[in-house]
């Protein structure tokens, strides 16, 4: 049935691939065809040297002597480089702390630290030779764990505290009080594409570096510092990464700097790609945390006062640990109003690899802490943890003013809280109440297998907490054939950023998405960029690209208004056409005409996030532009004889605002959830007593596999839009869904609690490997037996 006459093909009613369209990833065709080019796939220029790093085999030691005679003698070796060969600064610290040497000198501070580099004619030759160096160490005492660091007061900086109210008085007066300790492990990024950089020397000592990085500008700075060059002598390019997850925010600095050093010193192109085991040992991971809490609450489970002591293993240097630990503090409240709260953060310095950014950036650890508190309160009061959670939610959007329940521990008023509404809807669609009762009945009849269920909410603050980083640039060219060339400072690591920003540009020009060429991120196109991190990619770069598009559109509109003898306001971009008064132009016609009229068809665009500010000294401000919300219900089962466990069903409702691309956003939600669940269940990092990582490859470090996905998985997007003026009222979606995975841990916790007849807190730490689950079952049985 057709109720209108078909329109001529030349006047489309809507464009293909505009904002809100579930277009596939821009490189999907190339991905499946194997033609997408990653850094290691770039054809190597003739004479390219391959580099391997020589790594420390001590956690903490003086380096007394380095002898390279066997290295030099090895087949294929061209040169060996140490700190003495560095013309500039021997440091790749992302924050200028001079504590991340390219090559350690005199002292090694973690097992796997870079000591020297071997350049050879093949990667295999370089790897073989790098193991032949003779290194004489003199061991020093090593501090490896959070506990050891806390005992020794080994910190990167003084502890940092913020909060509101009077927690000590509130705790003393509270009718109920609980103290507990929560531990959670770190996490290896396991991007499928390891760290890699290819440096190509140019004229005048310039160098171009192809790097798999989330932060090309920082690669540029690191290379320039190490080579003693001005920034304008270094160009960095990245078309795409094979995964990043925060692991390529700073960790690409070292391989890029070393590749550039070898290129500068030899005059030959040079590539450094870590073998997977090296990648595990050399690069930082998610911080493992120990969180102590002391909470006071009323009979309804409402928190009256609480203190948190968060201790994080930062490793041997600062890297981004200060900001990560800050974000853990910013998320210690999750969705809950804490009227009297003090959060103290300890940044532990240890002789382990320097931990770094990982999707969520400390937020997941802070959030997991308070979610365990919710479980403990519920166990104590014999309530459904969901009831305790609801009792503590921040005041809802529209009801926050005067509620007295909307102030965060960092003195920001929460005005956009939708978690109550969102939770209600998820409880309904997931059948939570009925299923929870059913599970308890089932457990009573199943002596060995036990099931558990948990609903956990997420509120995640969007913006870099370092306010100056919240800016972005774009560069847009309109060519005379009407095709568009888009560039911006964001990087593509699989999250679909390039496609989303291209959809914004297509929407602005009302042209098909295929008309927008997506190009590699380069420091010589858009300078001084922030990393693609903090979920900010589409918020910042989408706005910058829209600004660039609107500048060009305005120039076209002004020109076409003159051409058509009408007002600028009467020029409209409609699907496939530009209407100017009575005249109609195609984009190619308008572009050609503008060129003929000598009007610029190229523009930059720039965006800086409004409203945000943060004063770290006073612990007050508005560090976040807005919050992204979500909630998940996970049902899991455990085997009480072995501790084996698995997810059975997951229901997710997540807030991406008005989605720029629902297909991409749902992909982020599902992938984020599974990654979060992996962090808290199968993914266990184990170090031996000498500080060597024992789990340094996928044979021993287990990320979720295909069958770990729950057999039933329902995901939906929340229907609301962002109340702040973001790009088309969308919300950032990169990190928040990872924290939905906390429900996977707590569902196991609920299953464990069943063995004690739900009479006690399972207090299940993460990662909940079979061993941890079984030991928690044993401990609970013992506690219950002891009464």
């Amino acid at each position: 049935m057709q109720d209108t006459a078909p329109k001529p093909a030349t006047t489309p009613t809507r464009i293909t691939g505009g904002v809100g369209d579930p277009s596939p990833h821009d490189s999907a065709h190339k991905h499946v065809a194997g033609t997408a080019i990653y850094t290691d796939d770039i054809p190597e220029p003739p004479g390219t040297l391959h580099i391997a790093l020589g790594l420390s085999t001590r956690a903490h030691a003086e380096v007394l002597a380095l002898d390279f005679s066997q290295v030099h003698a090895a087949s294929g070796v061209v040169a060996v480089f140490t700190a003495a060969d560095i013309p500039g600064r021997n440091d790749v610290s992302p924050i200028g702390k001079s504590d991340d040497p390219v090559f350690a000198t005199g002292l090694v501070e973690h097992y796997g630290q870079s000591l020297f580099a071997v350049a050879a004619t093949s990667m295999l030759a370089a790897r073989r030779a790098a193991r032949l160096a003779d290194v004489i160490y003199k061991d020093k005492p090593a501090i490896l764990t959070v506990d050891e660091a806390m005992d020794a007061k080994s910190f990167l900086s003084d502890p940092y505290t913020f909060g509101i109210g009077d927690p000590d008085a509130a705790l003393a007066a509270a009718p109920h009080r609980l103290k507990g300790r929560v531990r959670m492990g770190g996490q290896e990024h396991f991007y499928l594409e390891g760290q890699v950089a290819l440096a190509i020397p140019g004229e005048d000592g310039d160098v171009t570096v192809h790097s798999s990085t989330q932060h090309p500008t920082e690669i540029q700075h690191s290379v320039a510092h190490v080579l003693g060059l001005p920034f304008n002598a270094v160009t960095v390019e990245v078309r795409r990464m094979g995964g990043g997850f925060g692991g390529k925010e700073t960790q690409g600095n070292l391989p890029a700097a070393v590749a550039a050093l070898v290129a500068a010193k030899t005059g030959r192109p040079a590539k450094l790609r870590y073998d997977r085991d090296d990648d595990f040992e050399v690069t930082g991971k998610r911080h493992d945390f120990r969180i102590d809490y002391d909470v006071g609450f009323d009979a309804g489970g409402r928190i009256l006062g609480i203190t948190f002591e968060q201790a994080a293993r930062c490793g041997m240097s600062f890297d981004l640990s200060m900001a990560i630990c800050d974000r853990a503090m910013f998320h210690a409240d999750n969705c809950y109003f804490l009227p009297n709260v003090r959060i103290t953060s300890y940044r532990c310095k240890t002789n382990t690899v320097s931990n770094t950014a990982f999707r969520g950036f400390g937020g997941p650890q802070g959030m997991a802490g308070i979610e365990r508190v919710m479980e403990a309160i519920a166990a104590k009061l014999g309530k459904d943890p969901l009831a305790v959670r609801r009792a503590n939610f921040y005041a809802a959007k529209g009801k926050s003013a005067g509620s007295g329940r909307s102030l965060t521990p960092y003195h920001m008023e929460i005005e956009d809280c939708i978690i109550g509404e969102l939770t209600d809807e998820l409880v309904r669609t997931s059948g939570y109440e009925k299923r929870r009762a059913g599970i308890r009945a089932w457990n009573a009849k199943s002596p060995i297998l036990k099931r558990g269920i948990s609903l956990t909410p997420v509120k995640f603050g969007i913006s870099f907490t370092n306010t100056l980083m919240n800016q972005a640039g774009a560069l847009l060219h309109l060519y005379t054939d009407g095709s568009l060339h888009l560039n911006h400072g964001g990087t593509e690591m699989g999250q679909g950023l390039f496609q989303k920003v291209a959809q914004v540009v297509a929407e602005e020009f009302q042209c098909d998405l295929s008309n927008v060429k997506i190009t590699a991120t380069r420091t010589d196109k858009v300078p001084n960029t922030s990393p693609t991190a903090a979920s900010s990619g589409s918020d910042l770069n989408g706005m910058a690209a829209r600004e660039a598009a609107r500048t060009i559109k305005m120039r076209l509109a002004e020109m076409l208004a003159v051409e058509a003898g009408t007002d600028v306001e009467a020029v409209r971009f409609i699907p496939g056409r530009i209407i100017a008064g009575r005249r109609t132009f195609t984009l190619p016609e308008a572009a050609a005409l503008a060129h003929a009229r000598r009007i610029s068809l190229s523009s930059t665009g720039y965006y800086a996030t409004p409203k945000i500010h943060w004063d770290r000294a006073s612990g007050k401000g508005r560090p976040f532009f807005y919050f992204a919300y979500g909630a998940a219900v996970t049902e899991s089962a455990i085997d009480t004889l072995t501790g084996e466990n698995r997810m059975l069903r997951v229901d997710i409702l997540h807030d991406a605002g008005r989605s720029l691309n629902p297909a991409i956003d749902l992909g982020q939600i599902e992938g984020g959830f599974i990654q979060g669940a992996g962090w808290l269940t199968t993914e266990e990092l184990v170090w031996d007593g000498k500080g060597r990582l024992s789990t340094h490859a996928p044979s021993t470090y287990k990320i979720p596999a295909c069958s770990d996905r729950p057999p039933v998985m329902n995901m939906s997007l929340w229907h609301g839009e962002n109340s702040e003026d973001t790009i088309y009222r969308s919300k950032a979606v990169g990190e928040p869904p990872l924290m939905l995975g906390i429900s996977a841990l707590l569902a196991l916790s609920d299953a464990v609690a069943s063995v004690g007849g739900y009479a006690g807190d399972a207090a299940l730490d993460a990662p909940a490997t079979p061993e941890r689950v079984l030991m928690a079952v044993q401990a609970l049985k013992t506690r219950v037996a002891a009464g």
Partner: protein
């Protein structure tokens, strides 16, 4: 002795490909594709066969199967006479996508895209196998999970990829795919040589004899040579330990070692028989062993790896020896001094040490088998992740109960000692006793006589000991009641309940 050939030739994306004689025999297929041939579609993710990013498809026309394998743990000479398809060769004649690629695109199956070529090749292998050699019916979700267990994705959470695996069977099969498959098969058959392979250059030697006598002779001359089955472990010596492998002898084409027979009272598994080749028969006879094999390695590893290799390398955490020991298997060795037989458990002397004379090699393992569907054998694999993980503890139980009395008990464990070993004190505490929980409980402390496990990255010694004991409890429940004891595999009912 049969004729020999001194160069490697295989079919690469449908075209005859002769490997230059200068290529070191230890070069992996992945290195060869990417570095020597510039075929960059196949990715390196881990270089140890655990991530699947380098998956390619190998076809052996006589076996009527398309096999996904990891290119990072295959040496180039191992491909001699086979047909190899990489992601670079999937395009149709006018650049069309294959249904497995089209489905991945439609289902949003890629994010960063780096693992994608590997997934595409695993899907391609499944698609061709179902369409060519089976009934064309789409596989179950469970089977899809099993086929994809060897491909890791860090971005998607897998849902979109599983959707693609279902979707591809709903797409029309292009005519060019049918004809290309036929042409490849035809050409691959033409390539099959009756000569044994002897590749020698400055970088090493690689032999692939065709007959047992040839193998014995080679071992007599070169007793220090390294025997290759599927190379799923030996390649790690090269890739990770950077060990030189100067002389390699492949068992893969030795006719006698490829034999797999199931006669009255006895099954004989030649040392070169892959898990894949033996799986369905073993599953038919011992369903629990089938489930163990499903979780052993991955599709790619099972397609390459051999049961003989799993025994011969003597690993304390190999999954096959405990199961075969519980069944009372006999190991057949051969070598310059002739054939020897021994109970399998006697082969493992100590960590890293086996009862093997110079030049000796594993010829076969013989397993007593009297009936099909023997559910008395239970294999319990405990690991952090269900699929594609190395066991922290592997317990295999095989008890005979007659009139409520334990008439024989064979219990073997992996991960509990430096070698796979029997739990003889536990067995003794069960034999001759009534099959009751009281007997089980009385036997539990005996585990501490049998084993003193170690702590490592997979589990603590305390967990290993507690779990080993609990597995006997599980066995008792499974043999005597209808209580649910399994989250995965044989006996798993919980998933069906949730789906319903």
């Amino acid at each position: 002795m049969a004729a020999t050939r001194d160069y490697v030739v295989f079919l690469l994306n449908g075209e005859r490909h002769e490997v230059p004689r200068s290529v070191p025999p230890t070069r992996t297929l992945l290195e060869y594709l990417r570095e020597d041939l510039g075929l960059k579609g196949t990715k390196e993710g881990c270089n140890e066969g655990d991530c699947g990013a380098c998956t390619v498809v190998v076809m052996e026309p006589e076996q009527r199967s398309t096999l996904a394998v990891n290119a990072c743990i295959l040496l180039v000479p191992m491909l001699d006479g086979k047909s190899v398809t990489t992601v670079d060769g999937l395009f149709g004649p006018s650049g069309e996508l294959h249904p497995c690629q089209q489905a991945m695109l439609e289902c949003h199956g890629s994010q960063c895209g780096f693992c994608t070529p590997g997934f595409v090749m695993s899907l391609f292998a499944m698609y061709q196998d179902v369409m060519e050699y089976h009934d064309g019916k789409p596989p179950t979700k469970k089977w899809i999970n099993t086929v994809l267990a060897g491909n890791l994705c860090r971005c998607t959470g897998y849902g979109s990829i599983v959707a693609a695996a279902e979707r591809m069977f709903a797409l029309p099969r292009p005519e060019w795919d049918v004809s290309r498959q036929a042409v490849n098969e035809f050409r691959a058959i033409g390539l099959r040589s009756k000569a044994s392979l002897a590749v020698k250059n400055a970088n090493g030697q690689f032999y692939a004899p065709l007959a047992l006598v040839e193998l014995i002779e080679l071992r007599r001359i070169q007793p220090d040579s390294i025997i290759l089955g599927g190379a799923t472990d030996v390649c790690l010596w090269a890739n990770k330990q950077l060990r030189p492998l100067p002389i390699l002898i492949s068992t893969a084409r030795v006719g006698e070692l490829q034999q797999f027979s199931h006669g009255v009272g006895r099954m004989r598994i030649g040392a070169a028989v892959t898990y894949e080749a033996a799986w369905s028969t073993l599953e038919m006879v011992w369903p629990n062993l089938g489930e163990l094999i499903r979780r052993l390695g991955s599709e790619q590893v099972r397609n390459s790896g051999t049961i003989g290799g799993n025994i011969a390398n003597g690993s304390p955490i190999g999954d096959m020896p405990p199961a075969l020991m519980a069944l009372g298997s006999t190991l057949v060795l051969n070598g310059p001094e002739g054939q020897r037989r021994m109970p399998l458990e006697e082969f493992f002397l100590a960590y890293g040490k086996q009862d093997r004379k110079p030049g000796e090699f594993v010829e076969a393992v013989e397993v007593p088998s009297h009936e099909t569907g023997d559910r008395r054998l239970r294999c319990y694999k405990i690991s952090k992740r269900f699929d594609q993980d190395i066991s922290a503890v592997l317990g295999c139980f095989y008890l005979h109960i007659d009139n409520g009395v334990v008439t024989s008990a064979r219990i073997a464990f992996g991960g509990m000692a430096g070698i796979p070993n029997r739990a003889k004190a536990v067995e003794a505490a069960l034999e001759g006793k009534p099959w009751t929980m009281a007997t089980v409980e009385a036997a539990l402390p005996k585990f501490e006589e049998d084993f003193q496990p170690l702590s490592d990255a997979r589990a603590s010694k305390e967990y290993r000991m507690l779990t080993a004991k609990n597995l006997l409890v599980r066995y008792f429940h499974e043999m005597t009641s209808d209580v649910q004891t399994r989250l995965v595999g044989d006996g798993e009912r919980i998933i069906a309940e949730v789906m319903a």
